[in-house]
Symmetry: C2
Subunit: 312 residues, 2 copies
């Protein structure tokens, strides 16, 4: 389970109206979910037996074995823990409850024409989990980005050498506005610290974890940075394919916002922290053949009604 | 205390032979220490009364009030928790003991000719502390570095436009080797992910937290990025001056290793994780007038001997 979770990035989500970072792995009738508001980190890990037992508690009439309803649980739960970029929409009614150290994500969906309830009952993770899934990868990401900055600064020095050679041989610009200042790393860094960073409005509260950062996070977390295209064998296709394919896109088809202005940067931050549509108010019908009624109506159906064999 | 600690970066240290990241704030007869091996994070926070009580327990003959010995404690303890770049050397014998969730740093130094013992008894921090002092700042640092990468890529595009103008007006290079390829962000990013990162040997175990990263960490942590030169009023001059002045240097006098090769990057990593000289084996005499004897001899001195009024 830990391995499956390592292959996934953190993504900004909005669960029941709250902005959080999420990392969720759904396997073969088991799952592990991590959530964070950057003040704390919660998690829940559930095996097949745990899931069966809770499903029974929450859905008294449910008599199906775990595999029979787990795919439905995945289909309504995964969108809640996925990036908005995935365009996944949960058909479940989602609420979030925090009591002390516990954070519970409650889902109400419809399965075979009857309401299906689920709760992700997350508790505060041990510090070791925070270190493995946030501190260490973020430190590695920072080092990788530092290296990228060094690389680009070295490239700029080479551009300046080329420009200087043209100029020393008498070349002049046809459009003066194209002239650039020679890049000086000291001056650039000082300006960046004193002018750019303050304007960026970097806040420690921001849940900004955009797709580029997700791609870097996954690259350093995978531990086999040259073999990103391999799927880890123990993760479910449902969970793994979504994320890995998403990030292959980011790695090879890099966003072209490189020259982005301060404005677009801020836009990204805003989008990351609050732009995700809330799913709490949506009550779409489950696209199952028998799911014609509303949730309210289905609860008043006769108990003997049997739809696809999950309930009795 | 929290505020004083926020103004400090994490620094790689070697304590009693173990590589750790440290963040230690020493105030006016109080301190707070954070240590991490990136698997967990430990901390100890001590007030004047706590310090007085422990000093009494560990040094039975000590009768001085806390302020009288606290400056000595700072002088021997601070170098243990400071970056190797500070060139601070502790005169104490330092050992590290881990028992379960507890990490104890034991110091044995010499004060007024008698042995002076101290123990930093650190316990696992709550997740909230890890979030405040590691997760949130590292996420902010990553975003700042992403922005820097975007900035530099935009500058490269401007250089290319200037070069293209020269070329279109017939300029030729006098030295062909100065010619650069036009910068293409997609190709660069793909190459960086597939070629450079794997060669960097980024490991999640690395405690690499170099001075540039420290400067960025402090900038985002300060929350007032435009006013870095102000000292926070509640931190001790001893602790604050060392670090702030160190980082002013980094901000204005940026290291010139911008074009650093893979080799020097690796050198940095090695240096950060294991290059700090171990202080455990050093037993220099404390530079006090009466500190002439060795530790062994001083323990056998007659109990009545009184040196500078700290012991009776």
């Amino acid at each position: 389970m830990e391995r499956g979770l390592f292959a996934l990035p953190w993504v900004p989500v909005n669960i029941g109206g709250s902005d959080l970072l999420a990392k969720a792995w759904f396997g073969d009738t088991q799952y592990r979910v991590l959530l964070s508001d950057l003040n704390t980190v919660w998690e829940e890990e559930m095996t097949t037996d745990d899931i069966q037992s809770r499903a029974q508690d929450l859905n008294k009439r449910l008599r199906a074995p775990t595999p029979a309803f787990f795919s439905h649980l995945c289909s309504v739960a995964q969108p809640c823990f996925s990036s908005e970029d995935d365009d996944q929409i949960s058909t479940a009614h989602v609420t979030l409850e925090q009591h002390g150290d516990n954070l519970t994500v409650k889902l109400k969906s419809e399965l075979a024409g009857l309401p299906f309830y689920w709760e992700f009952r997350c508790t505060t993770t041990p510090v070791g989990v925070v270190c493995r899934h946030l501190v260490r990868p973020l430190l590695a990401v920072s080092r990788v980005l530092q290296r990228q900055v060094e690389d680009l600064a070295a490239l700029l020095a080479r551009k300046d050498a080329e420009i200087q050679d043209y100029q020393e041989n008498g070349a002049v610009l046809s459009r003066a506005r194209l002239q650039t200042e020679p890049f000086e790393v000291h001056r650039y860094r000082e300006n960046f610290f004193t002018q750019i960073i303050p304007q960026m409005g970097v806040t420690l509260d921001s849940l900004g974890f955009d797709s580029d950062l997700q791609a870097l996070y996954m690259t350093v977390s995978s531990g086999k940075t040259g073999q990103k295209r391999k799927h880890s064998p123990d993760s479910s296709p449902a969970a793994e394919d979504n994320h890995v394919s998403e990030h292959h896109l980011h790695i090879t088809d890099v966003p072209t916002d490189v020259g982005s202005s301060l404005a677009s940067q801020e836009q990204n931050d805003v989008k990351a922290s609050s732009g995700r549509p809330q799913v709490a108010d949506r009550k779409q019908a489950v696209p199952l053949p028998s799911a014609a009624g509303s949730e309210e109506r289905s609860t008043s159906r006769p108990k003997k009604k049997k739809a696809v064999g999950l309930f009795r």
